[in-house]
């Protein structure tokens, strides 16, 4: 049962992401991505990563995607439908860039595919109790204290930058 649910959500996630990449209208892309991230959150819950699943809904599908939606609306970004998406790229950085990119992507898929195959042996995922808020929280404030502080510094920098860059007049 859980397995079939997992594959269902995975299909939703991949489909939504493909839609984001292929669709010309940014507005639809944002909505599709929210849907995709909701699927991913469901996968996290199936994997018993409850804290991360909740964060996924709150931070990604919530805050970040709303920010995207806000900017799309604010700028009234036009769809680039009048140019077909794929071939146009070859004009960005000329044809060899596109060729190089495709070779690169092929190589990448090959490598990751090989790595995934290498995991065949230890196939089954054992059940554990590590995804709860208390366990992640405990790790965050003991062993990961310094990274936590650095992350707060990162957010401070982003805050300064956003206010400084986006404000019309300071």
């Amino acid at each position: 049962m859980t397995a079939s649910l997992f594959y269902l959500f995975a299909v939703g996630l991949l489909g939504a992401s493909l839609f984001v990449v292929l669709n010309p209208n940014p507005m639809y892309s944002v909505v599709a991505l929210v849907f995709g991230f909701a699927n991913l959150a469901a996968i996290y819950f199936l994997l018993e990563a409850y804290f991360i699943g909740a964060l996924q809904v709150l931070v990604y599908a919530g805050a970040i995607m709303v920010l995207f939606l806000f900017v799309v609306m604010l700028l009234n970004v036009q769809s680039d439908a009048d140019h077909p998406s794929l071939p146009r790229v070859f004009r960005i950085g000329s044809w060899w860039f596109g060729a190089l990119a495709l070779v690169f992507i092929g190589l990448f898929l090959l490598l990751v595919g090989r790595s995934a195959l290498a995991l065949l042996a230890p196939s089954e995922v054992p059940p554990t109790q590590i995804g709860s808020v208390s366990q992640v929280g405990e790790a965050l404030f003991t062993r990961y204290l310094l990274p936590f502080e650095l992350a707060s510094l990162l957010l401070t920098v982003a805050l300064i930058g956003t206010v400084f860059l986006a404000k019309k007049k300071i």
């Binding site: 950085g93 995991l119 003991t142 920098v157 300064i160």
Partner: protein, 477 residues
């Protein structure tokens, strides 16, 4: 966490507090902006002093960072670079009426990021330090909010930087998946004892990590952002962007390879070999065709990343020491080069082409002399520090049997002489358009003195830096 932990990160704490203080000063009713640079420099100086006054050794914060001679070497280099870039920024900021607390604060935050990259002993810290550096730089590159070119450069840097972060993180994820840890020692133990889940996973992860680093230090073919970003950014920021991430990237790269992988990743040596070779060649050939000094220096920076990649690949104690020496010489001279470019630059980003340097020797002989010295050092003429750096790297590579790569590198160095000498020829052999001397603000003078000290002083009397770099590199092995 205990007192020893705090003491081990004291310089970083001082810089952070200084940066936050500057931000507070900025929001005061009438900010004393002319004094900001002194506050920032005071913070940097204090951090530099604490680096020596309160030395630590060992692992701190539950093994998240390790402090030793290696990190001290790089901290001193980062702090010097930060101070130099603050100094060359001041005249530019005042001329363009953009002197603000945020600028200095972001420079300091970026420096903190670099320092943590060198100190990191866990991929979590490597990643967060790298991002602290990168995000600060994205903002700094786009700092001139009303210049379209500055915005565009910032956006381009950010999008490609975020793209490369994706690869970096996927690499970490695969390494974590294979070894079950992100701690450098843990990774080494897992690989050494054969307890990793699968070799293929580790190797793929390490390859993706290489892509992430290659973006940050601008190795071909991951360099495409560099020229545009360097050209579009305000010149003092270009100085910082072309030194800071490169030095910090190579420092972290070397530490990861030496500490976490113990040079056991030969699967990728072929790829690194090719990367180094094409990086040198593409960088130098493209630099030949540039007429804009900022673009030329950008491509020359790409070429230097190629030489440095040789040192990474060779992976002996000798090459690690050579890498450190080269990075120190490269960072300081490049900083000076961009400092002088920002002086010659006129209003509205004019005066960046080769013609603006015609007859500079007659207009300002000292300035022209320093610039010529920088060019000679970057090209690798004896008796400059740049020559010694190249010599150390090449001889370390030959010792390990990379003769062909060294031959390619030497041919490349010869090619690079042509474009490095172009501004020198323009300065000394051509007639100036006007005879007026270039005004040299007092802030730039210490940077120029430092450049002379490094390029010529270390070229003639290299032993002090050699000793320090050998000791610093030694703590990795």
């Amino acid at each position: 966490m205990n007192a020893a932990d705090i003491l081990s990160t004291l310089p970083e704490l001082v810089l952070t507090v200084t940066a936050l203080g500057l931000l507070l000063l900025e929001v005061m009713g009438k900010p004393p902006r002319a004094r900001f640079v002194w506050v920032a420099l005071g913070g940097v100086g204090l951090a530099l002093g604490l680096e020596f006054a309160v030395p630590s050794e060992g692992q701190f914060y539950a093994g998240m960072i390790s402090v030793d001679l290696f990190t001290r070497f790089f901290n001193v280099l980062f702090l010097t670079t930060a101070a130099g870039s603050l100094l060359i920024s001041v005249p530019y900021l005042r001329r363009t009426l953009e002197e603000r607390g945020e600028y200095y604060a972001l420079t300091l935050f970026a420096t903190v990021g670099m320092m943590f990259m060198a100190k990191a002993h866990d991929l979590t810290i490597t990643f967060l330090g790298l991002e602290l550096l990168s995000v600060s730089l994205y903002i700094l590159v786009a700092f001139y909010r009303n210049r379209v070119r500055s915005n565009e450069a910032g956006l381009k840097y950010l999008l490609l930087g975020a793209f490369s972060t994706g690869f970096f993180l996927f690499g970490i994820a695969l390494i974590y998946g294979s070894t079950g840890t992100t701690h450098y020692d843990g990774i080494r133990l897992a690989i050494g004892s054969g307890e990793q889940l699968s070799m293929a996973l580790t190797v793929t992860g390490f390859g993706l990590l290489i892509i992430g680093f290659a973006f940050k230090v601008a190795l071909v073919p991951f360099h495409m952002y560099a020229p545009d970003v360097y050209e579009g950014a305000p010149t003092p920021i270009t100085a910082f962007v072309s030194t800071g991430p490169k030095v910090a990237g190579f420092a972290a790269f070397l530490k990861v390879i030496a500490t976490a992988f113990a040079f056991t990743t030969q699967h990728w040596w072929g790829i690194l070999w090719i990367l180094a070779a094409i990086t040198m060649t593409v960088g130098n050939i493209t630099a030949l065709r540039q007429d804009n000094l900022k673009r030329m220096l950008a491509f020359s920076g790409v070429a230097h990343a190629g030489y440095l990649a040789i040192a990474i690949m060779v992976g002996s104690a000798d090459s690690a020491f050579a890498l450190l020496f080269y990075l120190a010489a490269y960072a300081i001279t490049t900083l000076g080069a961009f400092g002088i470019v920002s002086l010659i630059e006129g209003e509205d980003e004019s005066g960046l082409d080769m013609d603006s340097y015609r007859g500079l020797a007659r207009r300002s002989p000292y300035l022209a002399g320093v610039f010529a010295l920088i060019m000679l050092s970057l090209a690798g003429f004896p008796p400059t520090a740049g020559f010694l750096g190249k010599f150390f790297i090449f001889s370390a590579a030959i010792d390990e049997g990379y003769t062909w790569l060294v031959i390619i590198a030497v041919v490349n160095s010869l090619i690079s002489v042509y474009y490095y000498l172009r501004p020198v020829v323009a300065m000394y052999m051509q007639e100036p358009a006007d005879e007026s001397a270039v005004a040299v603000p007092a802030f730039i003078v210490p940077v120029l003195l430092l450049v002379v000290l490094v390029a010529l002083g270390l070229g003639l009397f290299p032993m002090s830096l050699v000793k320090n770099s050998i000791a610093a590199a030694g703590s990795l092995f």
